[in-house]
Symmetry: C2
Subunit: 447 residues, 2 copies
């Protein structure tokens, strides 16, 4: 425990201990950015409070593996407390940040308020439906472990329903999977899903042939994987086609309901499973700063990552709108982590009355995987790979970055097993009354 005076409960302050004479740095969000910031403060003589509404850090790049029954939630997530257990100057608080009073240097939480000397906001983004909130119920997005569990449940139930109904039209609908959005998440979901159907489930069912399942990527723009160079986009497309994935470009979605999607050209795709991998919106916390935000709510930060007129408030990661050489930085882990470290450096420089530095992102490359054995990698400067090598590289990089030995070994085991047997091990349908929610349209009474 930190030696110090716990704040009393009389006032609305939350119970975190503070060391006399030490400044307090508050970090909101335990994602890649926030965690990196906390770690960068390991040797600093400050009190650090990391606030997150969840108790765990999720390794986002592998979330699609949980959604497609390849990995367990426990394999890609670790308790934030545990990750930071050895760093004695950090206190982790399970709470929800509601608004920031920058004038008073106070962060308002659902359980009280917290004073800060410097604040790092890294609450990231969630999926956005461009004003079509009704779509959310029919087309879940993939941002949290809960999302992944929901999608896994939905996917597996679709196959169960197909097996149970004798009506061909229903079967086809249950075996059609539409993914809205051709970015990395959409592509990785499509690849994993096609493998699930073609290989993992092949022997499980008796009435249906799971390899007849159709996976469709619906992309509004002209290309998939916009962030990658064209030649790698082509490689990715070929890999997807080999897996039997259908790719529809120039196809904005105009409608989503329980039975499928409607495209701008009026075409209708009947599907009982629609997944949302299209748009994101920044977390609402940014707006409470009362400064300029962009179209999706990202806070437009200054070159040193602070908020205008608030030299002690930093915004990083997916929540930050940062342009470099006239280009907006992408919402990837690398950017968030580099910004987290940089924000900490600037905070300590200010505490030491030194001038702060502008942030500059060093691109370490892009990786995306398309099912088993196929991936694409782009490290800039002509360093590009695709195919098996890129896949192993992808595997290596991602497993290496998992927090905690247990996760790494567990994940390697799972993959070794999946690789040899083509099985995805975590095909569990959990949640309240698995049957009820699915029986509706396949029960005789409904016909």
């Amino acid at each position: 425990m930190i030696a110090g005076v716990p704040v009393r409960a009389g006032d609305a302050h939350v119970a975190v201990s503070s060391t006399p004479g030490r400044r307090r740095i508050v970090i909101v969000g335990g994602g890649f950015g926030g965690l990196q910031a906390a770690r960068a403060l390991r040797w600093a003589d400050v009190d650090v409070v990391l606030v997150d509404r969840r108790n765990h850090h999720v390794f986002q790049p592998l979330l699609y593996q949980v959604a497609t029954a390849g990995l367990s939630p426990g394999d890609i997530a670790s308790p934030i407390r545990w990750i930071l257990r050895r760093q004695q100057n950090v206190q982790v608080l399970l709470a929800e940040a509601q608004r920031i009073d920058a004038e008073a240097h106070v962060l308002h939480l659902d359980i009280g308020q917290l004073h800060y000397d410097a604040l790092i906001i890294a609450t990231g983004a969630t999926h956005a439906y461009f004003g079509h909130d009704a779509w959310q119920t029919h087309a879940p997005g993939l941002k949290t472990l809960e999302d992944a569990g929901l999608i896994r449940r939905h996917l597996l139930l679709a196959f169960e329903q197909a097996e149970r109904t004798p009506v061909q039209a229903e079967r086809t609908r249950h075996l059609t999977f539409v993914i809205v959005g051709g970015g990395p998440t959409g592509v990785e979901l499509a690849g994993a899903l096609a493998e699930l159907a073609n290989f993992s489930l092949a022997r499980d069912f008796r009435s249906i042939d799971t390899s007849c399942a159709r996976v469709v990527i619906v992309e509004a723009g002209p290309r998939i994987l916009g962030a990658f160079p064209p030649d790698l986009q082509d490689k990715a497309e070929q890999a997807l086609l080999r897996l039997g994935v259908v790719i529809r470009k120039h196809s904005p979605v105009t409608g989503i309901d329980a039975l499928g999607v409607t495209l701008a050209d009026g075409e209708r795709i009947e599907a009982s499973t629609v997944l949302w991998a299209a748009g994101v919106a920044a977390s609402p916390l940014g707006r409470s700063l009362g400064v300029e935000v962009d179209r999706v709510g990202r806070v437009v930060v200054r070159p040193d990552l602070t908020v205008p007129d608030r030299p002690d408030v930093y915004v990083i990661g997916d929540l930050a709108h940062f342009e470099q050489d006239g280009q907006l930085l992408p919402g990837v882990a690398q950017v968030a982590m580099q910004q987290g470290a940089h924000a900490v450096e600037n905070i300590l420089r200010r505490f030491g009355n030194q001038p702060v530095r502008d942030f500059r992102y060093h691109d370490l490359g892009n990786l995306a995987t398309i099912g088993r054995n196929a991936a694409i990698a782009d490290f800039g400067g002509g360093w590009r790979f695709s195919g098996v090598f890129a896949w192993w590289l992808w595997l290596f990089v991602h497993v290496l970055k998992l927090t905690g030995f247990r996760n790494r070994t567990a994940v390697l085991i799972q993959w070794a097993w999946a690789y040899v047997t083509h099985q995805r091990g975590i095909r569990l349908i959990t949640g309240q009354d698995p049957v009820e929610s699915s029986a509706s349209d396949s029960s005789p009474s409904a016909r």
Copy 2:
């Protein structure tokens, strides 16, 4: 796929294929009993339909490990389809059995009806609150993966709440864990929980000392682990006491609410976590047979495991009330599995016009574990062990019995890791808005 004529959807029959000239055996429930029955039919020339409302088989004896964040759900559960994927004469149906029309040889499901030539009912039991259904919300029981997830979430949130509140009384309440019932489940939960607090979480928190957590077993009867011989009961008690677990015998519970439990002698134990490991009730399906059931709803079966006057309806496992040498057989996996195999043998004998045989249970021994390194084993005939050897035996037996290579390896990895580091890896709080549901009594407004 099974060559055969799929039943049309016009009538209310569900879509399972049936082979002309083959008899159909329907098994309800994919637990130890039902699964064993399905496997015993591997070489039989019959159509087998296994119905379960969940898509996965759960290895019950390790469920408490999931509840205490030691294992992932995926480690102890496998999809029933996958377990039986190679057995071509089995069709698995995700559906809920509602009632049995034994006269017409028809099983009614939520998605239609199913004709059978022989029926094996193995729907097991769920936890019962002896008429105090209000207790269920405050004292969850442990039967399904959902239960385990709920309990894990509850346990971990209790520590988070304790860390967040500066009010000592609240802290104590959040750090008190009451387990109602001193059977194997209660004892194993208590042991695992004590270790979670004493070791796994020790370094995670700053304001609280998790080793101050109190784990209390409340047992109505005179002894814990009633099914074991007295000397092993004593060994178990000593092991629990070493872990700091408080054992209250002769203490029936008279009240359970959100803030704790009240005992018959009027004593009150303030606790924000109460777990139910006391009573079970048989699944309601048994009653729909219209035959004699015992106090908790178990079907009183004949010596050959059939239901009176229904030679083609078998009831096995936790749902069956079977007395041997004047003693009711316990609700353990061994009994269910032996009965499953025996029921199949009798069914095939009847199909072959041979006389059926009476069932006899061969006790292969009892195992229970008390945290790390301590366990007790009783194989009858003086073969008893306790301590480290019994623990390794327990580990060996249980890991060996897990279905699927992936699970075994994953579980071994987890345990090796937990054993060396004292860490329980799966400490994730998931579920809808983790904070809201917990913030209530620690938010300043509530004071």
